[in-house]
Amino acid sequence: MENSGQADIVLLIIAGCLGMLILVVSIILFVVYYQKRVLSQKNDFQKQLLSATVQVEEKERERIAKNIHDDVGTLLSVLKLNMSRASRNTDNRELIEQINKENYKLLDESIQAVRGAIKDLAPPTLSKLGYLKTLGELCRQINGTDNINIVLVCEDMLLQLSQKNELQLYRLTKELLNNIIKHSNASHILAEFEEKDKMYKLRLSHNGRGITDEQVRELSAEQKGLGLKSIESRAQLIGASVHYSAGSIDMRPYVEVKIVYEKTH
């Protein structure tokens, strides 16, 4: 009887020990497998974001190169032709004066075209006057197109962001505005910028068709979401968050960018 009691206790303890150890091994295998999966998903997402950013930048470069080729290239070619004509008709003063007038006009247009290309590459007002003034300049350009009206509401302030972050915030804002102009059928945009609780908040609300965070995630997952992935990538770079709302009866659709800043001394 004592022996059977002994055996029972031994069996119970050994079974208990083995059972617990099997549980421990299962937990550890789960942890290892799960962490690999999470990291793999994170890596895939980062690769997608990087690829989207590179593709968008390449497209932008192509566009700028095309503009320079079509505008500046054409103008300089005509300028060259004019100079060649002038050199063949050095005795004809009237013709030379006419050609000079034309050449001044062509040079002016070339300078404007080059300035436009430079603005696209790196807006000069951004480094000199900051994000808000450059955003104001962008809004003026958009208003100049007559297709859409944009109103900017903000206090005059100097942002506590590094130049790099201001540039990324500007590009992010520009992409968001481009998306609204291209896809929402809006005729009016209200851009509000404010500082609150050590955070900057930019809200772009409009009277067009909005989009939700869920729809953005779905589009990003497909090939169509290149611009959206680029926005997400830029937001991550500067530690900002982007929130989309399709709006409701009482509220217009909007997209909101929030960025926490640190005061630099």
Binding site: G5, I9, C17, L21, V32, Q35, K36
Partner: protein, 224 residues
């Protein structure tokens, strides 16, 4: 002494001897250790001192259970501080909650330890407080694994020292849980079984020391 029991005794000696490996590794790499890793090293040093004291007292035919009782309390407190440091690295909203969890667990353990002392006496196995410590430390370990998943520092989790420390702690305390629950019952009713079952404890000890050694080895120039 039956020959089989001799093997369990040798296993105990081996377990004591193997404590030297993590200690040696730890002392060699101590300059790379964070505060939490140093707590584990301290635990190893206290372990070997305890093991030697227990053997010495056993040879002198003096009851050594009070040494084990003291060691168990110190072990739980050191590991609680270890896990508190780990949890303090989580996001703010969780670190406050987890820090409170550690404080509550320490209060629970102290309460249970006094109850155990009152129930079992100073010169008996503290199976109630040990069982409680096992369960609480298992909970700490599972939370720490969750923390590791949420805050991956390395591409491969097997390179993280915390993974190895945590695996050692979880394996040791969960493997010993049933042993500690029935330890006093076995001493009272089946004393002949005692060496065999403590042999299982020695095996789990050896596993624990090996895993801690791997953790120290992985620490090298990295912090947890």
């Amino acid at each position: 002494m039956p020959s089989t029991y001799r093997y369990f005794l040798y296993l105990s000696y081996l377990s004591c001897f193997l404590t030297g490996i993590p200690i040696a590794l730890g002392l060699i790499r101590i300059k790379h250790f964070s505060v939490s890793t140093k707590l584990i090293l301290l635990l190893m040093i206290i372990s070997i001192v305890t093991e030697i004291s227990i053997f010495a007292l056993h040879k002198l035919h003096i009851s050594n259970l009070f040494v084990a009782r003291l060691f168990d309390a110190v072990e739980f407190i050191l590991l609680s501080f270890f896990f508190e440091r780990i949890f303090s690295e989580t996001k703010k909203k969780f670190s406050h909650a987890l820090s409170s969890v550690v404080k509550v667990f320490m209060i629970i353990f102290i309460g249970v330890a006094f109850f155990d002392l009152y129930t079992n006496g100073f010169n008996s196995m503290d199976n109630i407080s040990l069982t409680t410590a096992c369960i609480l430390l298992m909970i700490y370990s599972i939370i720490a694994f969750f923390h590791l998943i949420q805050n991956p520092v390395f591409d491969n989790i097997l390179r993280a020292p915390l993974f190895w420390f945590n695996t050692g702690i979880l394996a040791y305390f969960s493997g010993n849980l049933f042993l500690f629950i029935f330890s006093n019952y076995i001493e009272d009713h089946f004393p002949r079984l005692s060496p065999a079952l403590w042999g299982i404890h020695s095996l789990l000890n050896i596993t624990f020391y090996i895993l801690i050694s791997i953790g120290f080895w992985k620490t090298a120039a990295r912090q947890i």
